[in-house]
């Protein structure tokens, strides 16, 4: 039953991506992208990744959609041109897809308890995480305590993005008020 839900959601995501490729109205593209992010968040819940699902729902379906709509308003474009004779992109895409499919054969099957992802450090974090840090949510414990350096780097990246947007769009040019 769980697998059926996951398969149906993954199929819906593929359908939405095909619709995005075929859509020429820009507003429709932004709305379909928001739908795609919601479906991705639901798939993450079905895959037991609840922290990731909350972040993807907030970021992908929330902030990304607001920023895309803001940029759409500022650029004022509503229709993109139809593509003509995309032979080289199709060939490159199919080649990349075949290489990825060939490399995918060596990956472990879905829900395999002996996959390398469950051995080594993950088992140690699950056992000793709540005892050493006092926090039952192992993802928060790893993010904020065991791998705190990476989270510091990520916070600096978010700050840099804010500073970059300020530098690009300017603080006083063309303000409405």
């Amino acid at each position: 039953m769980e697998q059926l839900i996951i398969h149906v959601l993954l199929a819906a995501m593929c359908v939405v991506v095909v619709a995005i490729a075929a859509q020429r109205n820009q507003f429709g593209v932004v709305v379909l992208f928001s739908i795609y992010s919601f479906l991705m968040a639901t798939v993450m819940v079905a895959l037991d990744a609840v922290d990731v699902a909350m972040t993807e729902a907030a970021v992908g379906a929330g902030v990304s959609t607001v920023l895309l709509l803001g940029a759409l308003y500022l650029t004022g474009d509503t229709e993109s041109k139809p593509t003509k004779r995309p032979l080289a992109p199709i060939a490159i895409s199919i080649a990349v897809g075949c290489m990825l499919a060939y490399g995918m054969q060596g990956l472990p099957t879905f829900s395999d308890p002996h996959a390398p992802i469950h051995s080594h450090v993950a088992a140690r974090y699950l056992e000793l995480g709540p005892k050493e840090t006092g926090v039952p949510n192992v993802v928060t414990a790893v993010l904020a305590s065991y791998r705190a350096y990476d989270t510091l780097g990520e916070t600096v990246v978010v700050f840099t993005a804010g500073v970059g947007v300020i530098a690009l769009l300017g603080r006083a040019a063309g303000r409405l008020n």
Partner: protein, 143 residues
Amino acid sequence: MKSNIILRVIAKLLMPFMLIFALYVQFHGDFGPGGGFQAGIIVAGAIVFYGIIFGLSEMQRLMPERVVEIMMALGVLLYALVGLGGVALGGNYLDYFVLHAEPVHGQLRGIFWVEAGVGITVAGVMIKQFYMFAGRSREAEES
């Protein structure tokens, strides 16, 4: 949109619930899904929602741009200072178990302040980006 009474009333009813939910997600990130990033984005979402309904000038009164810019830098500074606090109390950088007499208590304190810093930065950056995109007129000329 503030001339429409339904939108106005609903916005004023929903905003405190959104902000309380953001605080819940921030502080209960230890026991359930959540943490700094999600909480920061929910706070930004609540303030942007207010700005969409009531207009940018009302939003400026609620959250002046200087405050948002200070929030952006304050979170990163808080995170780095927690690390330096570990150094000042005798351990390495970003060591949490020297922050209190018991190591586990020290870990809880460190995680609390670090997640608070992350939440403040993320909220500030998202609100500032909305200000930048929404406050720009369509025919702006560069100076």
